[in-house]
Amino acid sequence: MAGRAEPPDGGWGWMVVLSAFFQSALVFGVLRSFGVFFVEFVSAFEEQAARVSWIASIGIAVQQFGSPIGSALSTKFGPRPVVMTGGILAALGMLLASFATSLTHLYLSIGLLSGSGWALTFTPTLACLSRYFSRRRSLAMGLALTGVGLSSFAFAPLFQWLLNRFAWRGALLLVSALSCHLVACGALLRPLSLAEDSAVGGPRAQLTSLLHHGPFLRYTVALTLINTGYFIPYVHLVAHLQDLGWDPLPAAFLLSVAAISDLVGRVASGWLGDAVPGPVARLLMLWTTLTGVSLALFPVAQAPTALVVLAVAYGFTSGALTPVAFSVLPELVGTGRIYCGLGLVQMVESIGGLLGAPLSGYLRDVTGNYTASFMVAGAFLLVGSGVLITLPHFFSCFSAPTSRPQELVIEALDTKVSLPKEEGLGED
């Protein structure tokens, strides 16, 4: 059966957007709101905070490192069966976690099992979404990714209510039931065959060709650098504000303000990415530079109004770079190779994310305040955006041919946002 020459750009694609919306909500919303469970686990297992936060860290690490596997399987079998299996695994992990008797049990069930379930859902979904759209790809991405922001608003109070009603065992049971909706989301992912699919071959061939693809490698490096700095504010902003003398409640409120502007930034940037002609990489560079600048300015701002303005700016620009980062990849490697490409980028850039927060914490321990941490984070972002200039057709006035799939890595950025937010939400 010959594939379509052009992605449909609508029609069933909007159902895929809906599916991606709920999926990002169920994967990252859950991860972000896990901070609510954090307090319960510390008292229930009588363990230290650092050991309990490993649960989320393992989950995110497995989700990111497992992305290439999810991608390779999607290339072979199509996204639908892979995502549905991922949903079942994620729900199963939570279900087993509700019977946990020790912290190790939680590491294995939530971290390993649910993490691998998430690895099989998130990357294939976004890759599938990018195949369904070309002209309106950024907008579709932006809309789908708003699921992350909205869900962290909704899930944090919901999980707290579940904890008050059912204690953590019952709450985990119900979160497992919620995660079953990932299977329903997977069912919406109708397979789409595009013209390039026969040309690019199977997963192994795709992976080898990607690893020899210059622009792809440079893009991966850029995103890894960006990822290193991206999550620092989510992890350390509340602590930085408390160092400046803020109370916990206004500090948490500032994070919420940043989250709202993040949401707005995603949709606005998605729309802008499609409206502006030329390669999307230029917009990505714009947003990353602005994010880096706002990060570097954080330590300079002392007055509350300046901090609020910077938080809004950071939220908007960091949200804005997510859908665009996903849109660049199809332009680079083509929609035929997008599953593998996305998985690979996720895996590599997660290194940046995993290193970023501890590095920032280390700098803080050494220097005594967060000035160095924020400046270094901003520097990483600026260097990453500099690498983006080396991408092909950067300075041309015309878009790259729309049938090339190129959106990969922004998901990994989203995963990282979840982790810091969880730590930031460890209140009560």
Binding site: E46, A177, C180
Partner: protein
């Protein structure tokens, strides 16, 4: 006084008499001392001598400074018997001569306080006493009556004990820990735990059953660990701290749920998810079938077109053009 009889007897009496008189005087003096200790006049409220056992008591000094026209209350937390020095300082707005200074416990007036005048308009009054048992706890006030009455009240009480306010939710088969802490205290002499069903409090004996373990990391907290919970273990638990000067206690609520409680919403949500999946897949099968039928219709039309073309072509002898 012995009556004199003969010269030798009288002479003996005269030599013995002064020492006897001295002896008698000394004895009478001793009786006088004994009588005075039995007099009702004593400054200690409990009947102990005022100068007994000061080396065991800690000294507590507390001050209140009364601002203009308002009363002040200060909380004093005591665990064990102490010597109290309570001081109140009052600045009069006008003449000091009209100020009447008293100390009251509740409404009962107290004695044995001192007061000094400092400067032109400041009065300082001090009340010293010892607290040795729980009956002496309460409100002690210094009262200044100028035009209006102003009071500085020292509320003397034992430390409060606090557990968690929210009910603790657990499941059958779990184990849980109830914690009680006393704030601002060094450590009670004794902690006890009770269960209550209704109004009856039943003490918990950790040595009797394997279910309960009472422990405490520091002296100012206590932990009750319950293991292998059953549904009957739910209810109110009281922790009580016993201090030399009194007791304080707090209540905690324990709820034990069976696993069936969250299972109902769990199955409901899973059923809903399965239903969604079924609807989506069935919808897709249905739309694919609809696509196939229009294709059959189109093929039929194309065959008709070809037939009409052929017939046209035979008449015209022109190259046939196939329509898609």
């Amino acid at each position: 006084m012995l009556p004199g009889r003969g010269a030798p007897g009288a002479r003996a009496a005269r030599t013995l008499l002064p020492p006897l008189l001295v002896l008698l005087a000394a004895a009478r003096g001793g009786w006088a001392d004994g009588a005075s200790t039995e007099s009702p006049f004593t400054s200690s409220p409990v009947g102990e001598g005022p100068m007994t056992n000061y080396s065991n008591l800690s000294l507590e000094r507390h001050n209140i400074t009364l601002p203009e026209r308002s009363s002040v209350q200060k909380q004093v937390i005591l665990e064990s018997p102490s010597l109290m020095y309570l001081t109140c300082k009052f600045t009069a707005s006008g003449n000091l001569t009209s100020v009447c200074v008293t100390w009251k416990r509740g409404d009962e007036p107290l004695k044995n306080f001192s007061h000094t005048v400092e400067g032109n308009s400041t009065v300082r009054t001090q009340y010293n006493f010892t607290i040795v048992n729980s009956k002496q706890l309460g409100n002690y006030s210094c009262v200044f009556e100028d035009r209006k009455e102003q009071r500085g009240t020292f509320t003397i009480q034992v430390p409060e004990v606090k557990g968690k306010k929210k009910p603790l939710i657990t499941y059958v088969g779990d184990s849980t820990v109830l914690v009680c802490k006393c704030e601002k205290c060094v450590g009670p002499s004794h902690w006890t735990w009770y269960r209550s069903n209704g109004s009856v409090q039943v003490p918990i004996d950790a040595n009797m059953s394997a279910k309960y373990v009472i422990s405490g990391a520091h002296n100012n907290e206590t932990k009750l660990k319950l293991m292998n919970l059953l549904e009957e273990d739910g209810g109110s638990y009281w922790c009580r701290a016993v201090f030399p000067l009194g007791e304080s206690e707090d209540q905690q609520e324990l709820v034990v749920l069976s696993f069936l409680v969250p299972l109902k919403p769990f199955f409901a949500i899973i059923a809903e998810a399965v239903l969604l999946v079924a609807i989506i897949l069935l919808f897709e099968v249905y739309t694919q079938k609809r696509k196939k039928h229009p294709d059959d219709g189109k093929e039929f039309e194309q065959i008709e077109q070809l037939k009409s073309d052929d017939s046209n072509g035979l008449e015209n002898n022109a190259p046939r053009q196939r329509k898609k």
